[in-house]
Symmetry: C2
Subunit: 216 residues, 2 copies
DNA sequence: AGCTACATACCAACTGGTCGGTATGGATAA
DNA sequence: TTATCCATACCGACCAGTTGGTATGTAGCT
């Protein structure tokens, strides 16, 4: 009966993450997690010195998974096509696929949840968030920069801003998706983000209208 | 000493909203609000039967102000130009202006904050959020539809999705803006949203290149 | 007087966290 | 093989502090 500690720890973390994504951190009591898992206080505080240690552990795991997703998906896109522009577009498309599949099971993002209760968490935890979000900015940004060098954009753009744009769309779409209870909204907005990239890259040809200078 | 009730009520609401935007609702204790205002429990519960009544009152006020901003800014844009396409673009531009001016003083949005602690609020409060967000979808959506009819888009788009896109960008940009502590990020992302609209409207001319995988 | 606008004192419930104890099972040694 | 030992895993009663909320009083205005 009293055996696999790692499994229990994971059980606590899974239950806690679900509750936190639904109700926020402050509104998720330790007892609520215990009720969900059938465990007791003893078990909880055996695995986590404090509730905030749980918070940090959750963020460590979440950020790690997230960065893994980022890199592996980027690599998949690189394997699927050699054109840097297409790699970026395929990358976003793959994310859409993944969103569509996992669907409602992942109804939120810990980064945003933690951000809205910022003062509850220590600096270390905030650094984890920053680091993970920076990974998207920099690694997707680098790939976008490659694409921009490979095919000059139709309007002047900044690679890191464009990379941030993806995270922005995802986070913002989650908010609306929850408020409206329309899961598909996230996919729609991701499609628009991809549209934007396509037009910036001139995947769809763009010509200036008025000053009539940038003709191809 | 015991004089203007309405002012005291507003004082409480202002202090509470600031704290809630910074720390979330659950993590904002009534006592913290009282400490901020120099009032006492008697005063608080004289004006609000419960903490949740404060939450609802705050959302009523916030949504009302928000819808007013939406409508008045839309009207300003309509007064500034007659071209529906330009009206949409000017509308977004005006929002950028307002964001830039109010700047850091408004570091968040109650809709998102409440969404991340959803179960704490009653249905009535959630309906207020939904109604306000729907106003953006429908009223900005209607204006965008006008623009689309006036100038057929270069790629097939849905007016309401595009309208949602603005809210999505704002909410998402707030999240990143907080995490990175980069207030200007919101403006950058709004600029990209406007870029997208410009290209969709063919404000910048767009021509299909290849078989063009732009789905609807 | 009576109503509004507060202050003060207080309470029951819940919070995160502690602590002494028990159960389990693997390593060790007889 | 089996008795001993001990670390790990877990239990559940308990604690102090904080929470939202109430009851009662009072000062000022009309």
């Amino acid at each position: 009966m009293a055996r696999d500690g790692a499994a229990t720890r994971a059980l606590i973390m899974d239950a806690a993450q679900k509750l936190i994504l639904r109700h926020g951190f402050a509104a998720t009591s330790v007892e609520a997690v215990l009720e969900q898992t059938g465990l007791t206080k003893g078990a909880f505080f055996h695995h986590f010195p404090s509730k905030n240690d749980l918070a940090r552990a959750l963020m460590e795991r979440f950020a790690e998974q997230d960065e893994t997703t980022l890199r592996s998906t980027l690599e998949r896109a690189e394997r699927l096509t050699k054109d840097p522009v297409q790699q970026v577009l395929v990358f976003v498309g793959l994310l859409e696929e993944m969103m569509e599949q996992s669907g409602n099971s992942n109804p939120g993002c810990l980064y945003a949840t933690y951000s809205y209760e910022a003062q509850l968490f220590d600096d270390e935890t905030h650094e984890l968030i920053k680091k993970a979000l920076l990974a998207w900015r920099e690694e997707l940004g680098a790939k976008i920069r490659q694409a921009l060098e490979h095919r000059p954009p139709r309007i002047p753009v900044n690679a890191e801003e464009l990379a941030d744009g993806l995270t922005v769309v995802i986070e913002g779409a989650y908010v609306l998706s929850r408020a409206f209870k329309e899961p598909k909204l996230v996919l729609d907005q991701l499609r628009h983000y991809r549209n934007y990239l396509e037009m910036v890259f001139g995947e769809v040809r763009v010509e200036m209208d008025v000053p009539a200078s940038v003709s191809s």
